[in-house]
């Protein structure tokens, strides 16, 4: 899946998000699934608010965690996973 870094995403509507000590537990009604997100994945999900592009999100991650280089591969894999699980949807340009 080749997603442009300029793309913006928003959380899907059918989610019940519960904070857990080590991230998020999310109940999804359609399809009937439960998802565990670790802290970093929960940050990515929270920043998928329709306002931030993927480029902005990864820059926030790099700065907030004081990383030497942006975690591009891990980030793209997590976004792809969030999309495939139906947790986020791409916003129109």
């Amino acid at each position: 899946m080749n997603i442009p870094m300029s793309a913006r995403f928003a959380k899907s509507a059918n989610l019940e998000i519960n904070q857990a000590p080590d991230g998020y537990v999310i109940y999804q009604s359609d399809p009937d699934r439960v998802h565990f997100l670790n802290m970093s994945a929960a940050v990515v999900l929270e920043l998928c608010d329709g306002e931030h592009s993927l480029q902005e999100i990864i820059e926030i991650l790099q700065a907030a965690y004081d990383l030497d280089t942006p975690p591009l591969d891990d980030f793209k894999a997590s976004v792809t996973n969030l999309i495939s699980e139906g947790l986020i949807k791409q916003c129109p340009e």
Binding site: P21, V25, F36, I60, L87
Partner: protein
């Protein structure tokens, strides 16, 4: 990372959500992981071990 710097990074985020994100940013970076199962308090406890 100072609070001012975090606020600057998260300037597009409403204040109420910003507090949540700051809480999630505690600790070192880990590879973002999503683990999903077909099918809440008990599940949260389970995820905490």
């Amino acid at each position: 990372m100072t609070d001012d710097r975090l606020n600057s990074l998260l300037h597009k985020v409403p204040a109420s959500r910003r507090k949540v994100i700051k809480g999630l940013l505690i600790g070192a970076f880990a590879v973002p992981m999503v683990t999903s199962f077909p099918m809440i308090e008990a599940m949260a406890q389970l995820s905490n071990g």
